[in-house]
């Protein structure tokens, strides 16, 4: 049974709630096997290219179901003082994912897009927090508790560093984005970008060094 897309996406949602650790500790998204996939999502994705619009919408619905499921679980397991509630983030990610018209070529492509969405959501959120505003987010992120301004600063520093890295070499930044924000495996990224696994490994090492240096300042 192929893994459904909801698992890495949900995994990265949880990771992103503890983004500082995820970035500074250089861990990728959580293991993908912590939630059982919905039975037919993987099968649908396997023939994603052949799916019509209705079927693709169905996959996205299932992605959302996965988001909600793990969000509920994480609310029981995680600290109560996270500034980004997983449910809120799941909602926002889902809304933005639905706005992407596609077509998604395959699972890796879907996840790569989700990775970009996650980054955007969190950066928006961090900006709003630092600005003391509540606009800029679509749903209930204004229910956040206080106390995570350092995390917001880190996130903005991360965004700035990734943007700078993208100017130096777009692929280096993308590989890191897909890893940290999207939870994609290195083989998946290699396939998506059409380069060798060795290239991805080297890109990732260089990009991590670049980002570590930027965040250490």
């Amino acid at each position: 049974m192929a893994r459904g897309p909801e698992i890495p996406i949900v995994g990265v949602l949880i990771r992103l709630a503890i983004l500082r650790a995820a970035v500074l500790g250089w861990e990728t998204a959580m293991p993908l096997n912590e939630v059982s996939p919905e039975a037919d999502t993987g099968a649908l994705l396997a023939r994603w290219a052949d799916c019509d619009a209705q079927q693709q919408a169905q996959v996205i619905e299932q992605v959302y179901a996965g988001l909600r499921q793990l969000a509920a679980r994480s609310l029981r397991n995680e600290r109560a003082d996270h500034t980004l509630r997983p449910t809120d983030l799941a909602n926002e990610a889902y809304l933005r994912l639905r706005e992407c018209a596609g077509p998604f070529h395959d699972r890796a492509h879907l996840l790569a897009i989700a990775a970009l969405l996650m980054r955007r959501i969190l950066v928006d959120h961090a900006r709003a927090r630092l600005a003391g505003k509540r606009n800029g987010l679509h749903v209930t992120l204004d229910t956040l508790s206080a106390g995570a301004a350092p995390d917001s600063s880190d996130l903005l520093a991360l965004d700035t560093a990734l943007t700078a890295l993208r100017v130096q070499n777009r692929r280096h930044a993308e590989v890191l984005e897909m890893t940290v924000f999207g939870g994609l495996s290195q083989p998946e990224i290699a396939q998506l970008l059409g380069v060798s696994l060795g290239t991805i490994e080297r890109d990732l090492r260089l990009a991590r060094a670049y980002l570590k240096r930027a965040l250490a300042c």
Partner: protein, 52 residues
């Protein structure tokens, strides 16, 4: 911000140094880089890489 040509040199030197195991060989390879900006950037990234 380095030019893309220089960033490509940094990238190549970074991986070339990492591929060496011997510290003296690494230092020699870095010293052989004639572009001070490329050398400094590479060294800085190597330090970040090693700083785990």
């Amino acid at each position: 911000m380095l030019s893309s040509a220089r960033w490509a040199q940094v990238e190549a030197l970074f991986h070339a140094v990492l591929a060496l195991e011997d510290d003296a060989a690494r230092a020699a390879l870095l010293a052989a880089c004639e572009d001070p900006e490329v050398r400094a950037e590479t060294l800085s990234l190597l330090q970040a890489d090693a700083d785990d």
